[in-house]
Symmetry: C2
Subunit: 341 residues, 2 copies
């Protein structure tokens, strides 16, 4: 009276049904293997009849490389991250990879989780958050495990990278704000965050300084809506005296800042203060905000990541590459009309 507990059919079953050897089955399921068309057809028919799929565990074990790709991402509950992971996961799946999601919310866990991921003989690794320890980056290089770093700090051992140009980013915002007539600059940046985020802020400030427009720097606790709002609200009207152009290093913070300016401080945007964000998350376009921002093209980012990954799988000895994402201004309602030149 034991309940039925069917196992997955194995290549042995298929071989038997098709009247061939197990290697023939294996070959029928291997790209570019040397197998007669009719043999392959027989095998495929049999496989179909049985519902056979290659056991990826066995294959991964044998080949020393699975089709699993480690996808490191934290703060998935953030609009930009959700979108990013969705696109990456879709893309990976489309290429036949299987994304293993690694969210290191605790940061200290990361090394262990990464090491553990490597033990799955992963086909590659994509890191979109938390900078991996240099030893691990090095280990990936040594074992020629493809590793793509997305908007990670460019220090440490070489690896394939996709990133925005933070200098261009900050510069773009500066030019925009200047064109729109802002002269009293401020910049909202999160405390101790990634190079890509603080980098744009830094280069915004640098651009201002270079043009003789000193820039007040406001530091938020982190890059959330709440932190952005609090940082600006805490500043108060007085703290914002003379400020008519505010750059927020992420849209999420910018939306918080916007609510702080309008609701908490009663200021008019863009009349009294103009605000520019960065990323172009969905919410930036919502009716109540209409935030002017700089768009990070995540489709492009995802394409670049996958391209780098597959290219390296194809040629493990190619030199590490750097892909720079394109950036574009999205003028909306939190800035004024550009001045005529």
């Amino acid at each position: 009276m034991t309940p039925p507990k069917p196992r997955n059919p194995t290549s042995f079953d298929v071989a038997e049904l098709a009247g061939v050897s197990r290697s023939a089955v294996s070959r029928a399921f291997t790209e570019g293997a040397t197998v007669a068309p009719e043999t392959r057809a027989k095998v495929l028919d049999a496989a179909n009849a049985l519902g056979y799929v290659v056991n990826p565990l066995a294959r991964g074990l044998q080949k020393g490389s699975s089709n699993i790709v480690g996808l490191v991402a934290s703060r998935l509950d953030t609009p930009i991250r959700g979108r990013q992971i969705k696109l990456l996961a879709q893309g990976l799946l489309g290429l036949g990879f299987r994304p293993m999601l690694i969210t290191a919310e605790d940061e200290g866990d990361l090394p262990g989780l990464l090491r553990s991921a490597l033990s799955y003989n992963v086909a590659g690794m994509i890191v979109t958050s938390d900078t991996p320890p240099p030893e691990l980056v090095q280990e990936c290089a040594d074992r020629s495990i493809p590793l793509v770093l997305v908007n990670r700090d460019p220090m440490g051992p070489a690896a394939d990278r996709v990133q925005i140009d933070p200098v261009a980013g900050g510069r773009t915002v500066f030019d925009l704000l200047l064109e729109c007539g802002a002269r009293g600059l401020a910049c909202l940046t999160p405390a101790g965050e990634t190079f890509s985020v603080t980098g744009r802020a830094d280069s915004f400030v640098a651009a201002g300084t270079a043009k003789g427009l000193p820039c007040r720097v406001v530091v938020a606790e982190n890059q959330s809506y709440a932190a952005g709002r609090r940082a600006i609200a805490d500043l108060g009207i007085g703290g914002l005296a003379g400020v008519d152009g505010l750059f927020c290093a992420t849209d999420l913070m910018a939306l918080g800042a916007l609510d702080a300016l309008r609701i908490d401080l009663g200021l008019r945007v863009p009349d009294q203060v103009q605000v520019v964000g960065f990323d172009d998350i969905e919410q930036a376009g919502w009716g109540a905000y209409q935030l002017t921002t700089v768009r990070q093209d995540l489709e492009e980012q995802s394409r670049m990541v996958l391209q780098l990954l597959t290219a390296r799988i194809g040629d493990r000895s190619r030199p590490p590459q750097l892909c720079v994402q394109s950036l574009s201004c999205v003028p909306r309602a939190t800035t004024r009309k550009p001045l005529a030149r």
Copy 2:
């Protein structure tokens, strides 16, 4: 001049260094195996020195069960989904599982992807979107592969489930709106979406009908912000004549509806129309919206899912269970003060 390409150390290496057999190593890494404490210590030391980790591919292959858990989720770029997956992934990782992310954006891909997931000898499967084909649910049951369905249509073969009570959900909103003085009811619901979403809408309408308050039903193309906004904007002022209480089946749609009412139609909320959403996504609490809503507790949901999963792993023959999430009202600024009783 071949570059070094270190492999992962194997149990053989550890055995050699520790001066024991490979089985001893295996036992040292197996919960509740019969191994002398000092032997285990020797093994663990050696393993540590070598940086050994059990190869999960080999283990999964041999034991017929890996520590991978399939996590089916689409529309990850949506606030509620991002949060849900973050919590679930964190929880799984914390329990030593490895979430394999399966996003079936194309719907038709789902069966294939699920079948493929099963071939990883997964420890279990969590489905948070797209209803899996009944055969597959059945197959999981037959092969006693733990399967937890989150807010899925309760038809089809039995399985462990976590869900809200859609009837209670709709009812809660109805009561709230009634208490706040609304009498002309409307309900915004997405076209052809999941039972959990349309269910709350249906039961809201039913509650109204039962009380002699007929309810206008407005159908949005899907459950996005844009669709919600468009649906209400297209209705126009005329289409909303007599409506002073609007329930939107998801917060995302509600925020769109809110912008439509205020910006596109120039109505005052809550003075002219009160609005209630559902889910309590982060954005609902943002300053510009302050949406009154019904909160779905995702932490609790995640806890329930993991509990169901581990419980079934512990006892594969227990009857399928249903966990019902709790719901709570979050009154904010899109409804008026409740009338005194």
